[in-house]
Symmetry: none
Subunit: 232 residues, 2 copies
Amino acid sequence: MTGRKILIVDDESSIRDMLRVALEMAEYDCLEASNAQDAHAQIVDEKPDLILLDWMMPGTSGIELARRLKRDEVTAGIPIIMLTAKGEEDNKIQGLEVGADDYITKPFSPRELVARLKAVLRRADPQSNSSPILVNGLCLDPVSHRVTINKQLVEMGPTEYRLLEFFLTHQERAYTRSQLLDHVWGGNVYVEERTVDVHIRRLRKALTVDGHEDLVQTVRGTGYRFSTRIEA
Amino acid sequence: MTGRKILIVDDESSIRDMLRVALEMAEYDCLEASNAQDAHAQIVDEKPDLILLDWMMPGTSGIELARRLKRDEVTAGIPIIMLTAKGEEDNKIQGLEVGADDYITKPFSPRELVARLKAVLRRADPQSNSSPILVNGLCLDPVSHRVTINKQLVEMGPTEYRLLEFFLTHQERAYTRSQLLDHVWGGNVYVEERTVDVHIRRLRKALTVDGHEDLVQTVRGTGYRFSTRIEA
DNA sequence: AACTAGTGTGACAAACTTGTGACAGTCACG
DNA sequence: CGTGACTGTCACAAGTTTGTCACACTAGTT
């Protein structure tokens, strides 16, 4: 299992069915939506790893939804593949201008679609390709769902693991508590901002081997940052 | 590519489409026929490695075609999986009496179908995957269908054996309960996720020799993992 | 130095997750 | 038919995690 979630957004159920079969065979988890409203709700709640988005839909169009998603910081990073009809080159260009990561033209081969999808996922997050992330002896392996420091097993809870995973895939960048809540807890939770501080403390405590707790740094007045640059 | 050719015989094009997508994703070559005459011609001409045969079809029925194929020396060796409607136990028995190698009930999960298909092909061609797996003195031998720890025979039920077999062929990787259900129980079962926990307990109990139960590890909030790395 | 805003910390209750013993139902076998 | 093995489920026990809060401490400003 890839542990990846793909959202299929298309009003035609036969297309959704076909895509679901293909993606399940390739061991992705599938979500489905037949319109933009459903899609948006699922994107916020479920945080899919990639969205397959039909160009043309009743009500809010796919292109409009893509535009909205790319404008919102929380969802901007989710890769989008537009599904377009044959012969509509203008749609492709417009899709790419809006920020879609790729397009694929109906009718398409399931194998081609999965290959394209894999390529987009690889591009979107080169470090999250099921390979371990290694920083100064700190290692997070998504496949075995395990963290080690200098080969030594490190215990932590699920939330701390997710926080560390987020930090390791977004290094050298400061995030507010609010942003961390959205990215790590999800956009639909009601949690005090100060709770982030408590989990930061728990993560730091778990990482207290050979000074690795210092990788998680406070940015006073802003929030936190994961950085390999340690001030003396 | 597996180099294997599968013939899909079903009068419903939506079923054929779904099966084709699933099988192509699994890298099989597909042939299709919507009736028994077409099917028979393709079987003679193309010599598929396995036939997926719908029970019920207009004109000559699937069961009749199966009977004919099993009677003919040229085609008798081709494995047949009957596709039956839910609730028709008599059909299943009749199919197996006629010589079908397995049956699968609509609606079915593509993943289960491919797993079944692989099992049938493996049976038809027994020269595959029969070497014992050895981990820290724990040994699973698929040929004798036996498990030992440090040469000591270990008793366990069929489900625990299958679970262990899955783990030994997928080490160092965390799986959710849902994934374990799909892989070990099959995709078309209706079993509570918590049942996995009970079987994990039973497997751990069976492996309680020299601490081997610790190889089956809980990944809290996710599921389970089989790993040779043991917490201190 | 005093003050204030911001962050760290210990502790706790509630919620959640996993482990366990037990049981009923089913099935294969003698 | 009786019996033992197997399976799935359930209620309760045990263990862990989570979010919150009051207080302590620190950094920055005046």
